[in-house]
């Protein structure tokens, strides 16, 4: 059995764990998975808007991690690095699946608009609309407003200009506002 006891895992420092994961050691991978998978899955879900895509992103990330770690230089920013790779994987997946990007303003016709006096319903409606935004807009919204990336960073991730990142964020928010009317 490759699984170790939790006491053993707890004893490992992160740099040590990374070193072991580099060689593809299953227990080290499983340990890193236990530490980071949930957060990374949530990030991927917000970007892709799909649970199965988010799970695939996490799967791909951990399958490819040992090789990627060989090029990784640890400057104490492992979690941020891991998140960035996850974001890139999620964005690759978005680009590779154009089907979801067809959601449009039309949805305001078929989806229910909630009564504005009910704040819980409002929040639900808003969250539904966020997840129904076109992928390119939702990605920028999530990267900027949830993950805290700057527009320059988003521009680099998406290979667009910083101005385009800002435009997309504004457009996402405008669309949400209109769709909730």
């Amino acid at each position: 059995m490759w699984r170790e006891s939790s006491a053993d895992r707890g004893a490992l420092t992160l740099p040590h764990l990374i070193e072991r994961a580099k060689s593809g050691e299953p227990s080290a991978l499983a340990d890193l998975y236990g530490r980071y998978a949930t957060t990374l899955y949530q990030t991927a879900y917000r970007i892709t808007g799909s649970r199965s895509d988010a799970e695939d992103v996490v799967h791909d990330l951990f399958v490819g991690l040992p090789s990627a770690l060989k090029r990784y230089e640890d400057h104490g920013q492992f979690a941020a690095w891991l998140k960035r790779v996850t974001v890139r994987l999620a964005l690759v997946r978005l680009r590779s699946d154009r089907r979801r990007s067809t959601t449009s303003l039309d949805d305001s016709h078929t989806l229910v608009s909630q009564d504005r006096t009910d704040s819980r319903a409002n929040l639900d409606a808003l969250q539904q609309k966020i997840m129904a935004l076109p992928d390119t807009l939702r990605a920028v919204l999530v990267l900027s407003r949830v993950e805290g990336y700057t527009h320059d960073e988003i521009a680099a991730l998406l290979n667009i200009s910083s101005a385009a990142s800002r435009t997309r964020l504004s457009r996402a928010i405008d669309m949400l506002r209109r769709s909730l009317l």
Binding site: L29, Y41, R46, V63, V92, T117, L126, R145, R178
Partner: protein, 734 residues
Amino acid sequence: MRLHFRHPTAAELGDYLSDSPDESRARIAAHLVECQRCRDNLQFVREVSSAASGVPTDEPSASVLDRVLASRASDTRLILPTADAAPRPKRHWALAAAAAILLAVLGGAIISQRASDVEAASANGILNFAPAAPRAGQAVDVDYQPPATLARQTRLELRARYRTRSNENYNAGIPTTVAAELKRGANGKFNGRVVLPDSVVYAVFAVEDTSATMIDDNAGRNWELLVSDSLGKPLFDALDQRANDMMGRNWEEGFATARRMTALYPNELRAWIWMKSFHSWLGRADDDSIRISHRARLAAFDSIFTSGPPPSKDDIGEMAWYAVGTDSSVAAAWRARLLRDAPNNSFAIQWRMFDGLDSLRIKKDTAAEFRRMDGLWASAPPSSREQVASYAAGLAIDAMDTTQTRRWTTRLVDAQRYKQDVRRWVATQLSRMPALRNDGIQQLRDEIDSLSTPVPSQRGLDETRSQQQKRNANAKRTLLATLGQALVARGDYAAARVALSEASSEGWNTGVFRAVQTANLAGGDTANALVMTARLAVDPRSTHAFNDSANTLGTRVLGAVRWKSYIDSARVEYVKRMLADAPARSLTGKHRVRNMDGRTFDLAGLTKGKVSVIVFWSRFCGPAIESLPAINDLSARLARSGVPVITVIDEANASSALSAFLREKNVAVPTYLDTWHEASQAFNQWGTPSYYVVDGDGRIRFNETNSADEALARAEAVRLAYSQQDGAMAEGRR
């Protein structure tokens, strides 16, 4: 004196909330003190940020880690995108001599395709109906003066899409039929007679030859009949169905229909719902005058229904819907009344459906949610059942609950059996679930079989028979790719190889290539997987990150030289397959446009000698407005390849309102005005946004598309064809 300061954008307000040091921060703070609207906007940005952070997410299912370890154990290796995409290097398209010789033949043949090879009619005939405003079930005489392309026929067919009062918006699944045979008379005109079925309120027509190879669809406008009353006024249901028919066809005509409904039938609540929807889609719901007018109209209806005879259940539903976003207290009252008095009305079903999401999120009790959906399904009117089944099926698939997935996908298909895309979606989903995979495979095979024989009633009014066959072949290849993946997952490699080989045999569909690549990798066929990887890598829509990892993988597995030969072959395939579906037609007539300064240009002169993209759009069309960022992106991307993007707007003259709109939307692409409607006539264009690719010889290539991404792929293919041809010719001279 106060300095004027434009209102900050939502992005600037986002930066402001992030506390990022920025020179505009102080100005925004000062502005916020004075501007209630921007304070409201800031609050909304804050709410969106908080809502986005709080989007309910669960944890990855327990099987993901097992999948990871299993993939590792089976030696699956993936290259992760660890670096940001570098700016795309300028590519050198020089080809090896052998490829150049091949291209000299291939590229030359493609580029020099004759302009007469056009399939769709580029000129329109004149068609008249008598009476032009028929009553239900009435016989209508048809008189048709054909264009030159159809003039030599002795017999033509008038095909129709008939709409009854209960048809939905968009045209998917509404059958077409031969409405009349038209016979040529001595004067060269064609005549025939249509007898409208009693239930039809609105009909759309096109004329074609008997082999369905040439179609006159009046440049996309079609001809139409609106069933009318004895005074010639179109019935309300006729206008309602016209608006439904225009969804996805022509936004401005849809909006015009809504305006006509409110003018002719001001007491029909549904007319005002249409208007409110269009105002919302066009982003004009915030305009004070519009908001006030809807509020007044709502108050008038409220008063009629309160003091007059009791409203019907449909009235209650429509009132509740119209009031949302118009007046919150009136909305709350009508919604309560709807749920109490008409809980099975379609609007009530929608509300009830989504009202339960709260408890699902909090309690995470999917079993209770499915019981609730069962109740809704039982009480929902047939027209609402697809919505209930669609939601529940999605939930079941997400929850990977095989029993519920089987139950709800069966109901979904039953509710919308005539919609092919619903059946295909269900088959695809089932094929991805291990426990239902065999069902999914069977359904995929049924769907693939059904595509072998084109169904006449499923041919679009603007679609020739060969175009329908081509569309079916494309759909078949997509399904074959899905089938191949499912067969690989089942371990049925021999059958999978057959399906995948057919899936990727023709056409250029990156979704198919990706599916074939995945299935080949899973089946251990690395060589064929890399052929697909190379195709994806040369497609201009692929990301730099993908290209980087593809190149790393290809070079590692094949070595640099062989991988380059894969890429070169993929590029040849790209041009060949893309341009196989790109008939050329010349621009007809005059095509003068004006720029924003009022100067007149010839559109052909603006593009002459260069592969170009012409985009028609309108500031009165929701999808066209929505596509503006995509148009800007397209222009920026194609600028690197030297392909200009020009936009043409259907407005006669520049105006301050138009200039303000262009500024507000950051339109960064040269804009011209179709002052004399010559450009839209020359392109045979109707409906926005529409993208056309003009080749280096000034001819239109491909039919129009409404996708900027597709326009990018097409323009790059045409540009590359010229570049390859030049390269091949240079090679030949050496």
